[in-house]
Symmetry: C2
Subunit: 261 residues, 2 copies
């Protein structure tokens, strides 16, 4: 009898060509591509469990998923074998054997997103689909003051797309940081979990503050009122990256050798 392994995979992807992570009929998704690649290697049907869904056009600098398999391919060879079967806009960085109970969705204890804004007059062809090109002046300090009203464990209904349904709209936002480097304004948001479109609505709201359309303090009122219509617009998917996902139960990252010799 062969042994069942629970394999955790870390990958990153450019989401431009994909209709998000999750399998859908008649649309190419990252999950579908990765399941096909695994099936062609293992000759087993697999269903991936994942840290997160992502929307169409959203990217991931780090994404974790897992699956169970009886295949005997050595775990450390899986990234090479999978990358050979995937297109260049998906890259498998690591495969680890997790304990039998590990679940990449339910064991995820936190996530960090980054939303990237290109803030200059003319667009950058190398950031096409990878940042929100916003050509109007932004007051970065007003954005930072507005962001300071967000962290904490509270009801974030105001930052959830209308029509979504969830058990609870309470989330614990650990931090928000608005970084500026040259023409780039990058908004980092870390929480135990996120509501639908939450980072994109937070971004639209902070941009409103940066344009002077709302006072920074008003962000506190928006959250208290819990009304989506008071918050800013939903920023486009282009600038959104799942940046890091956190687990308590995964084995430490194996050291990746810098280069093969």
């Amino acid at each position: 009898v062969s042994c069942m392994r629970n394999i955790a995979i870390t990958l990153c992807f450019d989401g431009r060509r994909y209709h998000g992570w999750q399998c859908q009929q008649n649309a190419m998704t990252v999950q579908q591509r990765l399941e096909e690649a695994i099936e062609s290697l293992t000759s087993e049907r697999v269903r991936l469990t994942a840290c997160s869904r992502t929307d169409a056009g959203v990217h991931a600098n780090m994404f974790v998923c897992n699956f169970r398999t009886r295949c005997t391919i050595p775990t450390q060879k899986l990234p090479f074998a999978l990358n050979a079967k995937l297109d260049g806009d998906i890259s498998v960085l690591q495969a680890r054997e997790a304990n039998a109970a590990f679940n990449s969705r339910f064991d995820c204890v936190g996530k960090e997103y980054v939303y990237r804004i290109l803030n200059r007059t003319f667009r950058d062809p190398f950031l096409c689909g990878r940042a929100w090109h916003y050509p109007y002046g932004l007051d970065i300090w007003a954005m930072r003051r507005a962001a300071d009203f967000i962290p904490g464990r509270r009801d974030f209904s105001a930052f959830m797309a209308q029509g979504s349904s969830v058990k609870t709209t309470v989330r614990d936002v650990k931090y928000i940081e608005v970084k500026k480097d040259g023409d780039m304004v990058d908004i980092y948001v870390c929480a135990d979990g996120f509501l639908y479109n939450m980072v994109r609505i937070i971004t639209g709201t902070l941009v409103w503050a940066g344009r002077g359309k709302i006072a920074p303090e008003y962000v506190g009122d928006i959250i208290s009122a819990g009304k989506r219509e008071l918050a800013g617009p939903t920023a486009p998917p282009d600038g959104l990256y799942l940046n890091r996902v956190f687990y308590d139960k995964l084995p430490e990252k194996a050291e990746i050798s810098f280069c093969e010799d």
Copy 2:
């Protein structure tokens, strides 16, 4: 009678979707897209003159071209109007009125290319088509010692694609610099002009030196012998960027305001 203007345009582009700069039958090129955009604005047929040809899949951080027109659109409005007609992987950064005799091809006094190598085990989805993914260890100092044998005014036949024909194979290479930043190895080459595939063959040769396949000093012998077959392989187009083009005769860049208000 309306006045004829000679307009110089500075742009940048991601070359992945294009068969290079120059117009070709049955293939999409950057020149064709830009001429179409100009024609739809000016209602005049135009033919662009350009600083350079580029190969399929090659990129430009800076590219200059010019055309003559009787249209009366204010020069400083042209970048906005053209960008609105072009896809997001081309960005017009500036339009200037040059003197009547200015020719972006013949007045170009120098060019700088950069060749980008991603030197790590696993590929980066955000550099797909934008860098050469080279997963084997490179001795950066061997590459730098090898590069030191290249600058100067000399016959560079050894670094020209076989079958090309030019009046002279003498070029003046001003400098080569091999920079390393994290996983990226970037090779900067500046010269008064370049032979066909010259930067890509230089890159292939420096990578040979970095792998220890040839001694750095041997690069001097390759140039002296003038034999293409002694040099390294032609690196793929993905990593090549026209980075800067130099003119004596163009008006200084106008100050571009950081953001519109």
